[in-house]
């Protein structure tokens, strides 16, 4: 304990010079960037010993980092099986998309107000064009990045800092990773039509329509995913056994 504390303090002091990065944060950052770059995927086990070794930190900060990520819904902790990159059960998918429907709808509405006042239009148009490039292509890291950017411009344009904080960006990324292989051609085509409707509504300045189109898109995604077979989801009983 004392050892750890001294160690934490030392790292803290070093870190204060480098924008105060404590060792749990180092571990958190490593896991998040692993998920972003694709070498960590939903359901993958996170072995404590591997993390302490590869990041050269002690077990305390690793455990702390895993707890923090669990609180954010990025990692699942289980008493018997250790830590996993979170995979979602059917219920969790539905719950998350139900929440995303209302907060992303709000995001589009606020962005529309902002663009009506003149800002962000070019950036948003560019993000839309960059996304449309992937209309007839399969899934790729670049597509996920273009989509992330599209929503990010909406979020930034709206200028609501609290919304930026509330938006579960990493969980959204995990959700997409978990299901991207299962999206049919037909669903993809529909998805791109929906982006066009959202963009059109946002740029037209009709905030109510922008909100409605965004909500419809996410609701349709929820319906599509809820029709997927059990194998697409983490099993509910396994989830329940997690403390």
């Amino acid at each position: 304990m004392t050892e750890n504390r001294k160690r934490d303090e030392r790292t803290d002091q070093d870190a204060a010079r480098r924008r105060s990065k404590s060792s749990p944060d180092v571990v958190v950052d490593a896991i998040l960037s692993g998920i972003r770059s694709g070498w960590l995927v939903p359901g993958q086990r996170l072995v404590e010993a591997d993390l302490t070794h590869s990041l050269n930190v002690s077990r305390g900060p690793v455990r702390e980092a895993l707890k923090l990520l669990a609180a954010e819904g990025v990692v699942t902790l289980s008493q018997n099986r250790g830590a996993y990159v979170r995979a979602l059960t059917r219920k969790e998918v539905i719950d998350m998309l139900t929440v995303l429907e209302v907060i992303t709808g709000l995001t589009a509405k606020l962005a529309t107000y902002a663009m009506r006042r003149g800002g962000w239009r070019d950036a948003f148009r560019a993000a839309h064009e960059a996304l449309m490039v992937f209309r007839d292509q399969g899934d790729s890291v670049d597509f996920m990045e273009a989509r992330r950017h599209y929503y990010d411009v909406l979020l930034q344009a709206g200028g609501n800092e609290e919304l930026k904080r509330a938006m579960p960006l990493m969980q959204i990324h995990l959700l997409r990773l978990q299901f991207q292989q299962r999206v049919s051609q037909e669903d993809r085509a529909r998805q791109f039509k929906e982006y066009e409707r959202i963009t059109d509504a946002v740029l037209s300045g009709d905030a109510t329509r922008a909100e409605r189109m965004t909500r419809l898109h996410i609701r349709r995604t929820r319906m599509t995913l809820s029709r997927l077979p059990e194998a697409a989801f983490l099993r509910g009983d396994r989830e329940r056994s997690v403390a």
Partner: protein, 224 residues
């Protein structure tokens, strides 16, 4: 403030401080604008300054504390526009909680726990003990979110830190009791649309009257 011994060792000490400060905000032990002085906290919680710093960093990441350059940290005191931003999200999230609670009100135990949490809010209290009222209000929203049974909803609501704003809204007790009665009736009636509309209308009315209801009750905090 809690006894030093009450912190469980299973949770890391910085995490325990984070939790205690959040709880303290609900209970009034900590208030918006209050400065967090590192050595004082270290002594109070019986931990190293490094641990305190880590807790403060974490609270800052969660938007509860704002670090001031060269001047330490203090509990965030949202401006009116920040309050507006929080309430806009609260409106849709609480609306959704009410809708989902209405959909699930007939599941075992739901109705009883909801009625118990609702009852004390339905009669206007003209001179309520603010801490007691904050506790009852939290209990009501907690009961409603628990019935909604949506973990993502709970997560967003608890991360919103809306209590930093709520305690600074001055609302007519009659009006407030009426708002809770409406939300309550719709949820208990299983009326999903009505419940969402009533909950959103309540938050909406706060947003629309933000100029009158938003007060800055802790002038001492301004000088830093």
């Amino acid at each position: 403030m809690p006894e030093k011994g009450t912190q469980r060792r299973a949770v890391s000490s910085s995490e325990a401080i984070v939790r205690d400060i959040i709880r303290g905000l609900y209970e009034g032990r900590y208030v918006a604008g209050q400065r967090l002085v590192e050595p004082n906290l270290a002594e109070h919680y019986g931990v190293s300054r490094g641990t305190v710093r880590e807790a403060v960093n974490r609270l800052s990441a969660q938007g509860i504390v704002e670090a001031q350059h060269q001047r330490g940290a203090r509990i965030r005191q949202p401006s009116k526009s920040e309050a507006l931003n929080m309430l806009l999200i609260t409106e849709v999230i609480v609306g959704l909680a009410a809708r989902q609670a209405a959909a699930k009100i007939d599941l075992p135990g739901a109705r009883d726990s909801f009625e118990a949490a609702l009852a004390p809010l339905m009669t206007p209290q003209h001179a309520p003990d603010p801490l007691e009222f904050a506790r009852l209000r939290s209990r009501f929203y907690r009961a409603m979110t628990r019935i909604a049974d949506n973990r993502e909803l709970e997560r967003i609501l608890s991360n919103l830190q809306v209590h930093l704003v709520r305690n600074r809204l001055v609302i007519d007790p009659e009006r407030r009791a009426e708002a809770y009665r409406r939300i309550g009736a719709a949820v208990l009636g299983g009326d999903e649309d009505g419940a969402e509309a009533a909950a959103r209308a309540h938050v909406r009315s706060l947003i629309e009257r933000l100029d009158e209801v938003f007060v800055t009750p802790f002038p001492f905090a301004r000088d830093g």
